[in-house]
Homo-oligomer: 412 residues x 2
């Protein structure tokens, strides 16, 4: 019997940690409010730090306020890293982020209690402010602006103050940057936050990458007019044009083969009265895919359709870029390793993109990155009803352990 077939994390202990951490910031409805840089976040980090130390990790805070626990390896080598975040949205769940951090610690505990030392150093990272500015991951990837004024946190507090309060050092933010020479791979375990695994009946998602995101504002200008006295053929109805745009967006996302998503989530009408033909519409567009080319193609196709819609409806349609985040593909060999690890543990798995942002997105900018997903019941997340079963949490952590053991042999 080889080591690879026998080593397992302690699922009961992992789920107890999830439960214990979830007491900090617990709301009456069962949700968790542990906003980044809040007293609850601090309290959570103190608990996590204690667990890290107990698992033999050496804990430090980098200049971006990221908390990093490190288990030395046998060799002088770049680290194998994992981690996630413990900050939440205003009413979040106990799995989003937390699972990735606590599974990382559980892996360390398992190595420790089995007297195993990896060749590579092993790092468990707790990233700062994932749910808002992603300052932690960005600083580590070197993609963060060093100018505090460029950040507008939802709670209004200046980011430099927040980071410094949590043990960071804004003045030396650039020093938080890591390189491939320091971290050879980063693997994040996370709950899916969607319903794909559940619908497919699979236990493990092998993430192909974190999708890129483009966001636009669409402005449609027609002519407001009396809904009674304006014959149909004299109208310049901005909402009729907008309806065609909404359906074009939907069709361009659905029709070609692939997994792209495109959404018109927000839409306002002026003057928005029952008896007035709409004169103006403003709508949002959100497009995500693993492939930059696919996103670019969808937007290009949409622009062509919008020109024709504008002509047919006698309106003017403008599209203004708002946000552009490039996709972050997972390393092929890490995807393969996660799949092999899952198979060796007898777990069903499937390849899928991550359509939400994660710390791994930034890590993938400078080193080999992979993500492991476990199912979210009903696809719910960012909500008090977020739920992943104890068995699925245990499976995910075992796949993380198995993947790290295999990667430890992969990197020389």
């Amino acid at each position: 019997m080889t080591l690879l077939q026998t080593l397992n994390i302690n699922g009961k202990r992992l789920n107890q940690s999830l439960h214990d951490l979830a007491q900090i910031g617990r709301l009456e409805n069962g949700g968790i409010c542990r906003l980044a840089f809040s007293p609850e976040d601090w309290q959570g980090r103190e608990l996590v730090r204690r667990w890290m130390v107990e698992a033999g990790l050496q804990v430090r805070i980098d200049t971006a306020g990221n908390m990093i626990g490190c288990l030395p390896g046998k060799l002088e080598a770049p680290a194998l890293a994992t981690g996630s975040h413990i900050d939440t949205v205003p009413c979040g769940g106990k799995f989003d982020g937390n699972l990735g951090v606590l599974a990382g610690i559980e892996v360390a505990r398992t190595l420790q209690e089995n007297g195993l030392v990896l060749n590579h150093p092993y790092e468990v990272m707790v990233f700062s402010d994932e749910e808002d500015t992603m300052i932690g991951g960005r600083a580590m990837a070197g993609t963060a602006s060093l100018n505090a004024a460029d950040y507008r946190r939802k709670d209004g507090r200046p980011i430099d103050e927040c980071v410094n309060q949590f043990g960071g050092d804004w003045g030396h933010l650039a020093e938080a940057r890591r390189t491939r020479q320091e971290v050879c791979a980063f693997v994040e375990l996370h709950v899916e936050q969607g319903g794909v695994l559940e619908m497919a009946g699979k236990q493990i998602g092998v993430v192909q990458g974190v999708v890129g995101l483009q966001r636009y504002q669409i402005h449609i200008t027609g002519r407001p007019n009396h809904a009674g006295t304006t014959p149909m053929d004299q109208r310049q109805d901005a909402l009729v044009a907008a309806a065609q745009v909404v359906l074009a967006v939907n069709r361009l996302a659905i029709d070609p083969p692939g997994h792209r998503v495109a959404t018109v989530g927000a839409l306002q009408v002026w003057p928005n009265a029952a008896n007035i033909v709409p004169g103006q519409v403003q709508a949002s567009l959100d497009v995500r895919d693993l492939s930059q080319a696919v996103i670019d193609q969808l937007v290009a196709d949409l622009k062509v359709e919008m020109a024709s819609i504008a002509q047919v409806t006698n309106t003017k349609i403008e599209i203004l870029p708002q946000l552009n985040v490039a996709p972050s593909p997972a390393a092929d060999h890490i995807q393969a390793t996660i799949a092999e690890a899952s198979a060796s543990l007898g777990l069903s798995f499937m390849a899928m993109p991550s359509r939400a942002g994660h710390d791994a997105l930034e890590m993938g900018r400078f080193t080999d990155m992979g993500m492991i997903f476990v199912p979210s019941e009903g696809g719910f997340s960012h909500s008090e009803v977020e739920y992943t079963s104890p068995e699925d949490c245990t499976h995910g952590a075992n796949v993380l352990l198995e993947t790290l053991l295999r990667l430890d042999r992969h990197y020389r």
Copy 2:
């Protein structure tokens, strides 16, 4: 040379009256603010009353506050009536309503100065509060509620107080009701308030009737979800459903032959965020046509389409009635008379519906009704840019005179 070929109103005098009345409630931007039951409305009515008396009309106020000027006829017979309103929207023009009242007076002046007495009594009516409750026309048609609490005037003042202040008598409102035995025909001259005549290059609109109106609220319920993590085939996107409804409404109005109009003028999305698949949409529907059957058919067809849209988009769609005003057709022989009168004056004309509400709508509920339209430049109305040329005002008043002369011979 017969009388019918020579009698003309005094266009200069008519346009001078339009100008003089427009000084009351004049705004800095050139618009008119003469809200019903305001001091400006009172001042306007005093001027109109003076002009009526000068034109030989006997003036009375009925219990609904309508001001009615009457020229006795040669015979004991029901009256031929015309008229309109002089109240305006908060920033209206000087033609809407005013032209119909002043042309009616100009007809009386013309009869008087030519020593002509009609067989029938001739009445010029100034209706109360056309731009809001239409209490004047409704009381005359017997369609008004006698309960003041049923009315919510836009300015918040109780309707009974308003009516009484202007010489009406709310306690005897029912006595304002007229019958076919008292008024055998009502013909209203009005500016079109749309762009149909201008687009067609016609001088006179022979109104086929005032369209009926049905208004609905449409509620669409889908499921709000993360715009990133929710694959296209798992969405219940209420806005994608709403877009299909908007286009179905538009197509059902345009495609079958006819002149129906249908509008989705108001639309709200929840939660209305760029990164959330829309969970709910609420939209208005406004349908107008001369034929009740056409309106009913459009709504019935739409309900069938909505059921299929709900199925395809996995949403729930409800449609709730809000308002239902039956069409008020113009009498065929009055339409014919207006057309003949226009032709005899060498004016181009076309048949068309009135798609806005008018006092004539209520008059048509109990007696023979007709309307004459003259062009509105650019189709604008309820605005300071409302404009009808002096020539077109004169043409309209001449057609009114000619029509009344012909109707005076028609009714025995």
